[in-house]
């Protein structure tokens, strides 16, 4: 077990990994990575490595649970046993159960669920490596996977967290900052509709600090959204180059 650092932010205002308070960790996004899935995406965010796959709309199983006027959205957030420092049992933990629910409720507002009655859309999220902020990275990838599947959407969903480390409101906490920091506020947004679809918090923040954290997280969301848009366009852009 590593020694706990005394301070998360040094005298120059730099964080343990050298970032400034409003800097995102490095991000990499890819779509269409899993051939069998109807849609898929892969994200690397800091040390997080997460795969999202979408199957559907397809026939609802079991049939008696099918809804006559809309599709059923299902989501499974799952962490691989080797994704964390101490091996995690493959059985779903209570945290994974809660996150599966919360992520589903975060993506559903973006989908036109009324279009495909009696069907199901399955979103599978596998965290291969975790380093704080996995739910946000998962949402960012899952939303790309839904778009990649050609499922009609109101907007993309993008997520980012902000929080408080030592005395400073910071953007995009990594695992150490999350564990040792004062508060963590993950936020998910449909950027063109200005709609918050996920918001959680744990820690202790004054009203003003909370407002700053939310605004900083929304700012982070918008930056990540620009990357989502690039990766969706790039699939097409390569093809466009062929035109002479």
């Amino acid at each position: 077990m590593n020694e706990k650092p005394e301070k998360l932010i040094d005298k120059k205002g730099l964080r343990l990994d050298g970032r400034k308070f409003d800097e995102l960790r490095p991000l990499k996004l890819e779509v269409g990575v899993i051939g069998n899935a109807d849609g898929s995406a892969y994200i690397e965010h800091g040390k997080n490595k997460i795969l999202a796959a979408v199957y559907g709309p397809r026939e609802a199983h079991p049939k008696h649970l099918a809804l006559q006027d809309r599709t059923i959205m299902k989501c499974r957030y799952h962490m691989a046993p080797f994704s964390v420092q101490e091996r995690k049992s493959p059985a779903p933990s209570r945290r994974e159960v809660e996150l599966s629910k919360v992520i589903r409720e975060c993506l559903e507002p973006a989908v036109f669920v009324e279009y495909y009655p009696r069907t199901m859309i399955d979103v599978f999220i596998e965290v291969l490596q975790a380093d704080g902020g996995t739910r946000c990275a998962s949402i960012t990838a899952a939303s790309l996977a839904l778009a990649d599947a050609g499922i009609p959407m109101r907007d993309l969903v993008v997520a980012c967290a902000a929080g408080k480390a030592d005395d400073t409101i910071v953007l995009d906490l990594d695992d150490t900052e999350d564990k040792l920091g004062v508060a963590d506020v993950p936020v998910a947004l449909m950027p063109n509709l200005n709609a918050v679809t996920l918001l959680q918090m744990d820690g202790k923040l004054s009203h003003d600090e909370f407002e700053s954290a939310v605004n900083l997280a929304l700012e982070g969301c918008k930056r990540i959204y620009a990357m989502q848009r690039e990766v969706l366009k790039s699939k097409y852009a390569n093809v466009k180059e062929v035109e002479e």
Binding site: K204, S206, E211, L218
Partner: protein, 263 residues
């Protein structure tokens, strides 16, 4: 979680709220009547029963001894579990905890834990070896909306009612002595849940409002008006300005409820 609400009812609720009225006669910012009873389960170290309107929750606290977690050898353990018992609603089924009961338990847990209701170091008996383990079990007996706030109040009331057994260390063994000490409580967080209906926020949604709502947001507020836990729920969304509005509402209602409950 919501069962099917008729389209007619949903529209009715939406229209009422659009005019700042609610079907049960309340104002948008009114809570239902709250009744709290403590010490109702003698076998438990602490207990409480709360009625929030017709939503009924019983919480039992059991205090046992056990080993601490390896990364916090000086701290006791707090664990919260919730049961949505089948008697509480036609929607609840028997079986292992489903996502709704897991979410409920974790929301109440965060409210208690992050606001630091209990100084967990005071639960330490022998560092690294023995600590008190506080089990908080939420039992929903009737679901008429807003189980979150009702459970949070019940859990807090039960903890205020909780007594820890006295002990002494004899020959390197922990021996339970007769007599009890009140569980040391440092904070009295209140969780305030708002539902978004017709683009407005209403507090303490009852079951039909929950079935009609777009989304809900719950915030736990401590004695110093800090926000300690937040959970947005429901497959809808909130605008950023509504989030900040909910925070302000939570602060005001927490103050009012804390006074009402005399905490």
């Amino acid at each position: 979680m919501s069962s099917i609400i008729t389209k007619v009812k949903k529209k009715q609720i939406e229209q009422f709220i659009a005019q700042d009225k609610r079907l049960d006669g309340r104002e948008l910012m009114d809570y239902r009547e709250i009744k709290v009873e403590q010490g109702i389960i003698e076998r438990a170290e602490g207990s409480a029963r709360v009625l929030l309107g017709k939503t009924e929750v019983v919480v039992g606290v059991k205090v046992e001894t056990g080993e601490p977690f390896p990364d916090t050898p000086n701290e006791g353990v707090l664990t919260v579990n919730a049961e949505l018992t089948p008697i509480a609603s036609p929607e609840f089924e028997t079986g292992p905890p489903d996502e709704n009961s897991v979410e409920l338990a974790r929301i109440v847990d965060r409210g208690i834990r992050e606001s630091k209701v209990i100084d967990t170091e005071k639960l330490c008996i022998e560092p690294g070896k023995k600590v008190f383990v506080v089990f908080v079990d939420l039992y929903i007996l009737n679901h008429d909306g807003n189980m979150i706030d009702a459970s949070a109040i019940a859990a807090m009331a039960a903890l205020l009612n909780t007594k820890m057994p006295n002990y002494e260390i004899e020959d390197d063994e922990v021996k339970i002595k007769p007599g009890y000490t009140q569980l040391p409580i440092k904070q009295h967080p209140i969780t305030v849940t708002c539902a978004k209906i017709s683009d407005k926020l209403v507090v303490d949604p009852w079951i039909e409002e929950e079935q009609a709502m777009d989304a809900r947001i719950s915030m736990a507020i401590d004695d110093d008006f800090n926000i300690c836990a937040i959970q947005k729920g429901g497959a809808g969304y909130l605008e950023p300005k509504q989030v900040l509005e909910a925070a302000k509402i939570a602060k005001d209602k927490a103050k009012q409820l804390r006074k009402q409950l005399d905490w």
